[in-house]
């Protein structure tokens, strides 16, 4: 009976999760399941140089819109306000309705959006953006540099209560002061003229421009925002789609924006079903045009004799890494050899293949494949049970018998911890002779304890990129002073490398600094990196053209079209 229940529950839960996270990403939690997280915002080379002026899209071609409606499942977004967006459900919609100075294209390169170009001066600290001609809000009103300034001021206003302003905008001079309520205006944002905006940052950080691709830096219309708290129900924005209808819990409908300055969308409408349902059933019943494919359905869909196989689209994985973390201050993980032993005792290849159906790729480093700075030849700590036992014996505890009680905490609601975790526990038992206990805590409690560094060992977490720069992984996770360093890892050499990398202008040197830091972190076994999400599988109807699976959340619906024979 258990298998048949799991057989039904798993596809329901997995499919809903995969669809909701599908093709998008950006939030950094996983709920203790082994589902691959969705893709995360794209990667480009750090330290991007100023782009050449964008060529205007030929009007004639963009007018030849194909029309039609693309229907898919989604979930109720917590918000449509770009300045409050911190999760993938909201971000996936927000990037289609709103836009900002720069964007990421479907190949995850930084492209000019509202800004047609920018110059970097002042040793790398001053960005001068030149706005495109003819950018309009959806009601036809022209967008000026003052609107961008208003938007930046608004997101940094403490009354806006933006949860992400600190992370994305605090490099701007005066931003922190405004957030703390010390000043009324952000010194580092200056309107030069109607089409020129100057932004000054506190140090020549090359990753700044990548951060501006995130919704926190998007433009909003002052009149619209000031019309009242319900303004997100009728946003007047600058993106390729307008919000046509939003019935919470039921549906959200986007409509083509005729004024979009970078090529009008081909689709007439996009219909998001918010009320739920079983994705595969709905897809096969032609109620939706697109669905993610969960582990339970994979065999059927991969079978070349199954008609669904023709509608299968495979995509690159999102940029995330799943891991088990150690608290380096709590015994026995205060001894590096113990941490290394635990890492060496896990046969990741077998688990990835047999337990997770190769939906994941074993990870030996921190940065995922395809992400800037990823080191494909990192040696890492590979499976070696003999060495693992030896290291444990060499540690200050002398062997498995003298170890204190070890508890690994994972998020969960009291059900199974997942077969992959169970196998890992079994491997530790067999290869090291250590019995590790697992404790499941529900998410909010888990988060609270995690932030206060109360765990000895913690799992069930994944980390995804929000912007395409290794700083988002290495610095935020492993710098000793970072508050996201949940294991209290401290290595002064790593700190030094990370601090140098923050301001290194030469992108090759910068990458090398991050890779050196990564090498040290891996050897120190601060974490056990487990896996990167593997290839993603989705089903999409054959009449939908131009849909790309992206590794981060980027606007992409405007290039999708429907071609019925």
């Amino acid at each position: 009976m258990k298998t048949s229940v799991r057989g039904w529950l798993l596809p329901v839960v997995l499919s809903v999760m995969v669809v909701a996270a599908g093709c998008l990403g950006g939030s950094s939690r996983s709920r203790g399941t082994s589902t691959p997280a969705g893709p995360t915002p794209g990667a480009t080379q750090p330290g991007a140089r100023p782009q050449a002026t964008a060529t205007p899209t030929p009007r004639a071609a963009s007018q030849r819109a194909s029309g039609g409606t693309f229907t898919r499942l989604w979930a109720d977004p917590p918000t449509l306000d770009p300045h409050l967006t911190s999760d993938t459900t909201s971000a996936g919609l927000v990037v289609e309705i709103f836009s900002g100075l720069v964007a990421l294209d479907t190949d995850l390169k930084i492209i000019p959006d509202i800004a047609e170009r920018w110059d970097v001066s002042g040793g790398g600290s001053v960005y001068t953006f030149r706005l495109r001609d003819g950018v309009k809000f959806q009601d036809g009103k022209a967008v000026k540099a003052a609107d961008i300034k208003y938007s930046f001021e608004r997101v940094l206003d403490p009354r806006t209560e933006s949860p992400v302003a600190d992370t994305y905008m605090n490099d701007i001079v005066g931003a922190q002061d405004k957030l703390k309520g010390l000043v009324r205006e952000v010194r580092g944002v200056r309107v030069v003229d109607e089409r020129t905006l100057e932004v000054t940052i506190d140090a020549p950080k090359p990753y700044f421009i990548a951060k501006l691709t995130y919704p926190t830096a998007y433009v909003v219309d002052r009149q619209n925002v000031e019309s009242g708290p319900g303004w997100t129900n009728k946003p007047n924005a600058t993106g390729p789609f307008k919000l046509a209808e939003w019935v919470p819990g039921q549906r959200l409908v986007l409509e083509r924006n005729q004024h979009f300055y970078r090529g009008v969308a081909k689709l007439e409408r996009v219909h998001f079903i918010l009320s739920g349902g079983v994705p595969m059933t709905m897809y096969e019943n032609n109620e939706i045009d697109f669905t993610g494919v969960g582990q339970a359905e994979l065999d059927r869909v991969l079978n070349p004799n199954d008609p669904l196989n023709k509608e299968l689209l495979r995509g690159d994985p999102s940029f995330d890494v799943s891991y088990i973390g150690f608290h380096v201050g709590k015994p026995p993980f205060d001894d590096k050899k113990v941490r290394q032993a635990f890492t060496l005792a896990i046969d990741k290849e077998t688990i990835a293949k047999e337990v997770l159906s190769s939906l994941v790729v074993p990870a030996y480093g921190v940065l995922p494949p395809g992400f800037p700075g990823h080191n494909p030849s990192i040696s890492g700590l590979r499976f070696d049970p003999v060495q693992a036992k030896k290291l444990l014996a060499e540690s200050k505890y002398g062997g498995p018998e003298k170890l204190p009680r070890i508890i690994m905490t994972v998020p969960g609601t009291g059900g199974t911890v997942g077969l992959d975790t169970e196998v890992i526990l079994e491997m530790w038992k067999q290869n090291l002779g250590v019995t590790v206990e697992v404790q499941q805590t529900e998410w909010a409690t888990y988060l609270q304890d995690l932030n206060r560094q109360r765990f000895q060992m913690f799992g069930g977490l994944g980390w995804n990129a929000d912007y395409p720069d290794p700083q988002d992984f290495m610095d935020i996770l492993f710098h000793s002073k970072s508050f996201n360093n949940h294991g209290a890892y401290k290595n002064l050499e790593v700190d030094r490398l990370l601090e140098l990398a923050r301001v290194e202008q030469d992108s090759d040197k910068r990458i090398k600094l991050y890779q050196d830091a990564e090498q040290t972190v891996v050897e120190d076994a601060a974490w056990i990196p487990l896996w990167y999400t593997g290839e993603r599988f989705v089903l999409i109807k054959s009449y939908i053209k131009g849909y790309k699976l992206t590794r981060l959340i980027v606007p992409k619906l405007k290039d999708v079209s429907i071609e019925r024979p």
């Binding site: 957030l179 303004w231 918010l274 059933t281 709905m282 019943n285 529900e442 998410w443 909010a444 932030n451």
Partner: protein, 308 residues
């Protein structure tokens, strides 16, 4: 009787304040913080502190409590923490209405199927049909929505293609049929068994024997004497069901794509969306009290022996 009703109603505000207090205490002093949940693992302690102050979460407990109760009295249940800019009422009321409709449909099914079956089982007591009905119903009822839901989907949607698999069209839309049946099924067993026991008890009463002796037809006896009296215990149970009408079944809602209150309630707990949790709790408690009052009043019409 008016005095009785008024007295019962006067307890309502007292009860609600107690409910609010308990939930408030659990929320304030329990583990987990709504701001931390919103910010996730990338939380910045400065941002967390700043947001908590903006949201008024660092005010003393008494201040927050008084503020909240004052708001509720004015009909203001506050804004959701998770769904920015949306008031609690606009989030939960439409969903409660949907759940109420769905559960009403399920309730009608349970009554329409369960009561006659229970009476039939009692009538055929001693013959094979009685245990057959009871065993059959108990078995079918033991199947949770998790099993029956996908099963129905498979048969009626995928194989027979009778209705779309998901979505909500209101009480009179065909899409309500399968979810209503799936949700009604687990409730059948209890109704059938209680009705059966109750009917058996009534059948052994003197006045029923007298009715037969008088020469009344079994049909009339059944309707005029047995059914009404046997129904009373079932009514009590249905009272609880009515009170639970606005409750949602998460699994049913997820499988059939119904925008009901179940999923929102479940998610709100995980997200520590306290205003929504409080709103659902308060309205739930109030509905429970009112529904029970209604049932108790209904008794006076059904059973002349009961007077308040």
């Amino acid at each position: 009787m008016t005095a009785y009703v008024v007295r019962r109603l006067l307890w309502l505000p007292v009860l609600l304040v107690i409910v609010i207090f308990i939930t408030f205490v659990l929320g304030t002093y329990g583990p987990g913080d709504p701001v931390e949940v919103r910010l996730g693992t990338k939380a910045n302690p400065e941002a967390v502190a700043r947001l908590r102050t903006q949201m008024g979460l660092d005010r003393p407990f008494v201040v927050q409590f008084a503020d909240y109760v004052g708001g509720v009295v004015r009909g203001d249940f506050g804004d959701s923490y998770r769904y920015q800019g949306r008031t609690v009422l606009e989030l939960i009321l439409p969903r409660m209405w949907v759940s109420a409709q769905l559960n009403l449909a399920a309730l009608l099914l349970v009554v329409a199927i369960g009561i006659p079956l229970g009476m039939a089982a009692a009538r055929f007591q001693g013959r094979w049909l009685d245990p057959a009905i009871v065993t059959g119903i108990v078995f079918i009822s033991s199947l949770p929505v998790l099993i029956t839901g996908p099963l129905f989907l498979l048969v009626f949607v995928v194989l027979l293609k009778l209705v779309p698999s998901a979505g909500w069209g209101g009480l009179f839309d065909t899409r309500i049929i399968i979810p209503a049946v799936a949700i009604a099924v687990p409730g059948l067993a209890l109704i059938v068994r209680v009705m059966r026991t109750s009917t058996l008890e009534v059948l052994s009463q003197d006045y029923v024997r007298t009715a037969y002796a008088k020469g009344l037809t079994p049909g009339i006896i059944s309707r005029r004497h047995v059914a009404r009296n046997a129904f009373l215990p079932v009514l009590t149970m249905l009272g609880f069901s009515v009170a639970g009408l606005i409750g949602g079944t998460i699994i049913g809602e997820t499988i059939f794509g119904i925008p009901g209150i179940g999923r929102l309630a479940f998610e709100s707990i995980f997200n520590r969306d306290y205003p929504v949790i409080m709103g659902i709790t308060i309205i739930g408690a109030a509905t429970f009290v009112l529904a029970n009052l209604l049932i108790d009043v209904a008794y006076t019409f059904l059973d002349p022996r009961i007077r308040y």
